[in-house]
Amino acid sequence: MQVNEGFKPTIVAFCCNWCSYAGADLAGTNRLQYPADVKIIRVPCSCRVNPLFILRAFQRGADGVILCGCHPGDCHYTTGNYYARRRMTLLFSMLDYLGIERERTRVEWVSAAEGVKFAATMNDFVSTVTALGENKRLEDLRCKAN
C-alpha cells in the first residue's frame, strides 16, 4: 500500500449525541490528539444518519465517512444503533459494488466514557484513508461547480 505523504483527506464523522459525541468531547478534555482532517457532525442518534448523507458526502468529495454510535444494547433510544448497523451493512455492500473501497466507510461504537477509544479510532481511520488516497469514484462534478 502506497503512503500518500502530504495528502490531507476530508473525513466526515457522524456522532450520536449521547455516546460518541460525548466520547469525542472527552477525548478533547483529555487533550488526546488526532488529525484535524476529521470533522464531526452531531446527530441525535446513529439511526438518524440516512445512507443518503453518506452518499452525499462522497459526491461532494469526502474521502472517508465514519459513523459512531452507542454500543449495542446501550442506545439512548433503545434500538437506534441496531437500525444504523443494518442500514450501514446494506449501504457498505452497495458502495463496495460501486467500487468505493470498503475501508473508506466504517461504523464504530464509542461510549461517552471512551475518549481514548475515540481518538485511537480516528487516528486509525485517518491513516487508513490517507493511505487509500483521494476518492474520486463518486464525486459529482456538477456538485463541485456550484
Binding site: 457532525i41 438518524r48 461510549s111
Partner: protein
C-alpha cells in the same frame, strides 16, 4: 435570507492558543447571510452574553452561530441568551471548536482551518433553522427509588419529607443494604445499626413511602415526568399483610442447613427466615431452593406453627405497574469475587476472609456474637494480616483498574478495633498507598498507627500459604526497607475491590442510562451535574455511580432527592421540540415509520385531500405525537417517500453541514 451573527469565543487561552480566533471571525464574516461577526475572550460571561444580546437587537439577527466549547456544555446558556434578546432559542447553533478542535490539535494553522470549516457548517445549518416551540407534558408527582440501601433510604426520606410519594424497590427481603452488615463506621466508630435502623423504621412508618421489598424492576417505559414501571414482587410464600414477624417459624423449620447469606455464608439459617432482627419489613421469607414443602410437598411445619396464618405455599410472583415522574438509581456495590486471586488462598483456607466477612465476625449480631474467632477452629487469632488493594488499582485484568476508595479507611478501622479489643493480637497492614482524604480521616489513620501500634508496611503480599499447623504463612516484600518478610498469621483479611451490583447493567439498559467501562452509571456532567444521569428524569445516588463511603453516599442521596423534588414540584415539563414531523402531502401511509418507532409515537389518521378535478380523496397519513416522540430520527430514514423529517436535525440541515465540510 437569514441575518446571521457569528460569535467566536477565545475561552481565555483554551481556544485562542491553538486557533486564530480573529481569523475565524474574519473568514466567517464573508459567509452568505452573515451580517455580524465578533470574537471575545469569554462568550459565556455576562459581558459576552450582553455582546450577543446587543448584536441580536442592533443587527436584527435571525440566526446565531457561536464558535465555542461543546454544545453539551453551553448550548442551554446561549439559547437562553438568545431568548432573552427576543430570538427563538432554536435559532442558535454551536460550532464545537474547543473539545473537538483547539484541545486536540497543536498545529495552529490546521486548527484554525478546521475551526473555520466547523463554523461554516454551523452557518449553513442555521440558514435552514426554523423557530421551534417546545411542547408541554404533565408530571406524575411520585418518585421511584431503585435500591433500598443507605443511599436509597436517604433519598426516599428526603423526597417524602418534601411531601411527595416515593416507592422503594429492594431486591432483598429487607431494606438496609450493605450498611446493615457493618459493625462500626469510620471515622467516628458509630455503631452502623444504631444510625441506620432508625432510618429504616422512618421509611416503614412514613405514609408517603411505600416499600416493595423482595422485588425487582422488570420494565421501564415512558420519559421524564411520565415513566411507567413494571415491578416484579417475588413470591416470598408468606402473606406480608398477615405476618407479624414473631419469628416462631424461623425457629421451628426443620431445614437447618441453609447458608446464611446475611452473614456471607459464615453460618447457617433455616429455610424460612428473617434476615436480621431489625429487618424492615419484618416479614419471614421462604427460601424456595431449600424448603422441603416447596420442593417435595412434605413438611408444612411453618404453616402449622404460624398463629397468624400467614404462610401461603401457593403464592406466585406479582407484577405491579406504577407511574412515576422521576427514577433514582441506588443499586450500590458488591465486593468482587476473589476466585482469580489464587495467591491469597481465599478458596483454600477458611481463615482467609474478605473485609466484609471480617465485619460480620466482629459484629455482635454476627455468627460469633461479636467475639473475634478464627472460622476454622474457633480459636482466638494472635496475628492478623490485612492486605489492601486486593483487585483494586489492578491493571493486570484480574481486578479493577480503579481505586475502591473505602478500603484504606475500613482497614484502619478493623486494625484499630482489633487492637482495642485484643491488645495481645499483632496486626499488620500491607498497602500500596494509604489514601485518607476526608474530614478527620487522616487523623483516624494516624491513631491506628500511633496510638494502637498497628504495623503498616508498604508492600504487596506475594503469597499466602496455609501450613500444616493451621497457620498461614504470609510472604511479602517491604518496599521501604527492601526486605522479604515471612509472617506466620492466624488470619488474613483481604480488602476486596468493590464493583457495581450485577443488577445495574440490565437496569441501565431498561432506563437507557449510560454506564462507563466499569459498569458504574455515568453522570450528566462529572463536575457540575454529578447526581443526574444524561437521560432526563433518571438520577443517581450512592455507589452505583462510583465507589463511595457512607458520608458521601448520604450527601449524594440528599442531592439526588433535591433534584427529584425540583422536578416533581413542576406542574408541566417543557419537552424537546426537536421531534419528528410528517409531511402529509408526501406520506402514503405505508407504516414503515411506525414499525421502527421505539416509543409508539406514530399513529395514522384518514385525511381528506382536495384533488385537482374537484373530487375529494381520503388518504391514510402518519401523525407524530410530539409529547411522546423523543427525536431519535429512526423514522426519518425508514420513510421511503421522504415525508418524515426531524425538526432541528432535518435532512436539509444535515446535508448542508455535509456540503460545508466537504467543500
Amino acid at each position: 435570507m437569514q441575518r446571521i451573527g457569528v460569535f467566536v469565543c477565545w475561552c481565555g487561552s483554551n481556544i485562542a492558543a491553538t486557533v486564530d480566533v480573529e481569523a475565524v471571525a474574519e473568514a466567517l464574516s464573508h459567509e452568505p447571510g452573515v451580517v455580524f461577526s465578533a470574537n471575545y475572550q469569554y462568550m459565556c460571561s455576562e459581558a459576552g452574553q450582553n455582546l450577543i444580546k446587543d448584536a441580536i437587537r442592533d443587527h436584527q439577527l435571525t440566526g446565531v452561530v457561536i464558535c465555542s466549547c461543546s454544545p453539551r456544555m453551553h448550548e442551554q446558556t446561549f439559547r437562553k441568551t438568545a431568548a432573552a434578546a427576543g430570538l427563538n432559542p432554536y435559532m442558535v447553533e454551536i460550532a464545537n471548536i474547543r473539545e473537538q478542535c483547539s484541545w486536540i490539535h497543536k498545529d495552529k494553522a490546521a486548527g484554525t482551518e478546521k475551526a473555520i470549516i466547523l463554523g461554516r457548517a454551523a452557518v449553513a445549518k442555521v440558514h435552514l433553522n426554523a423557530p421551534l416551540v417546545a411542547g408541554e407534558s404533565p408530571v406524575t408527582k411520585r418518585a421511584l427509588v431503585i435500591g433500598g440501601g443507605i443511599a436509597g433510604i436517604q433519598t426516599a426520606l428526603d423526597i417524602a419529607d418534601a411531601g411527595f410519594e416515593v416507592d422503594i424497590v429492594e431486591k432483598e427481603p429487607t431494606i438496609g443494604g450493605k450498611m446493615t452488615q457493618l459493625d462500626k463506621t469510620f471515622p467516628t466508630l458509630d455503631c452502623a445499626a444504631c444510625i441506620l435502623t432508625p432510618k429504616m423504621v422512618d421509611c416503614a412508618q412514613d405514609e408517603r413511602i411505600h416499600i416493595y421489598a423482595y422485588s425487582e424492576v422488570e420494565k421501564v417505559e415512558g420519559f421524564v415526568g411520565n415513566f411507567t414501571v413494571t415491578i416484579k414482587k417475588k413470591a416470598r410464600f408468606v402473606d406480608e399483610t398477615k405476618c407479624t414477624g414473631c419469628g416462631l417459624c424461623t425457629e421451628k423449620c426443620p431445614q437447618k442447613k441453609v447458608p446464611n447469606l446475611f452473614n456471607l455464608g459464615l453460618d447457617t439459617r433455616r429455610a424460612i427466615y428473617i434476615p436480621f432482627a431489625q429487618a424492615v419489613p419484618k416479614v419471614a421469607t421462604i427460601d424456595a431452593d431449600y424448603c422441603n414443602m416447596l420442593k417435595n410437598g412434605k413438611c408444612g411445619v411453618c404453616a402449622k406453627v404460624c398463629t397468624a396464618g400467614a404462610i401461603d405455599y401457593k403464592q406466585t410472583d406479582q407484577h405491579i405497574e406504577e407511574k412515576y415522574g422521576a427514577i433514582v438509581v441506588a443499586t450500590g456495590y458488591n465486593p468482587i469475587k476473589l476466585d482469580s486471586f489464587e495467591e491469597y488462598a481465599y478458596a483454600q483456607s477458611p481463615d482467609v476472609v474478605t473485609s466484609l466477612e471480617f465485619e460480620r465476625l466482629t459484629n455482635a449480631a454476627g455468627p460469633t456474637g461479636g467475639t473475634l474467632l478464627r472460622p476454622s477452629d474457633g480459636k482466638h487469632p494472635h496475628t492478623i494480616v490485612f492486605v489492601q488493594c486486593v483487585g483494586s488499582r489492578d491493571t493486570s485484568g484480574c481486578g479493577k483498574p480503579y481505586c475502591s476508595k473505602i478500603c484504606c479507611m475500613y482497614t484502619a478501622k478493623h486494625a484499630m478495633l482489633t487492637r482495642d479489643k485484643y491488645p495481645d493480637t499483632e496486626v499488620y497492614v500491607f498497602y500500596i498507598d494509604v489514601r485518607t482524604p476526608g474530614k478527620n480521616f487522616d487523623e483516624f489513620y494516624r491513631r491506628a498507627v500511633e496510638e494502637y501500634g498497628v504495623h503498616y508496611i508498604k508492600g504487596m503480599v506475594g503469597k499466602v500459604a496455609p501450613q500444616a499447623d493451621g497457620t498461614l504463612m504470609v510472604q511479602a516484600s517491604d518496599l521501604i526497607s527492601n526486605e522479604q518478610l515471612h509472617i506466620s498469621a492466624d488470619m488474613v483479611v483481604l480488602a476486596a475491590a468493590i464493583e457495581p451490583d450485577k443488577s445495574a447493567r440490565p437496569l441501565a439498559t431498561m432506563l437507557t442510562a449510560s454506564m462507563d467501562t466499569n459498569d458504574f452509571f455515568t453522570e450528566a456532567h462529572p463536575k457540575l451535574r454529578p447526581v443526574e444521569s444524561p437521560t432526563a428524569g433518571i438520577f443517581l445516588s450512592g455507589a452505583c455511580q462510583g465507589p463511595k463511603d457512607i458520608p458521601e453516599t448520604v450527601a449524594q442521596a440528599g442531592a439526588a432527592a433535591s433534584k427529584v423534588i425540583g422536578l416533581l414540584s413542576k406542574n408541566k415539563l417543557t419537552g424537546n421540540p426537536c421531534v419528528a414531523r410528517s409531511d402529509e402531502m408526501l406520506c402514503n401511509g405505508c407504516s414503515s415509520c411506525e414499525k421502527v418507532c421505539p416509543y409508539g409515537a406514530i399513529s395514522y389518521e384518514d385525511k381528506e385531500f382536495r384533488m385537482p378535478n374537484r373530487t375529494v380523496a381520503i388518504r391514510r397519513v402518519a401523525k407524530v405525537n410530539p409529547a411522546v416522540c423523543q427525536g431519535c430520527g429512526a423514522c426519518t430514514v425508514a420513510c421511503p417517500s421522504g415525508a418524515m423529517d426531524l425538526l432541528g436535525f432535518s435532512n436539509r440541515q444535515i446535508m448542508a453541514e455535509v456540503d460545508a465540510i466537504c467543500k
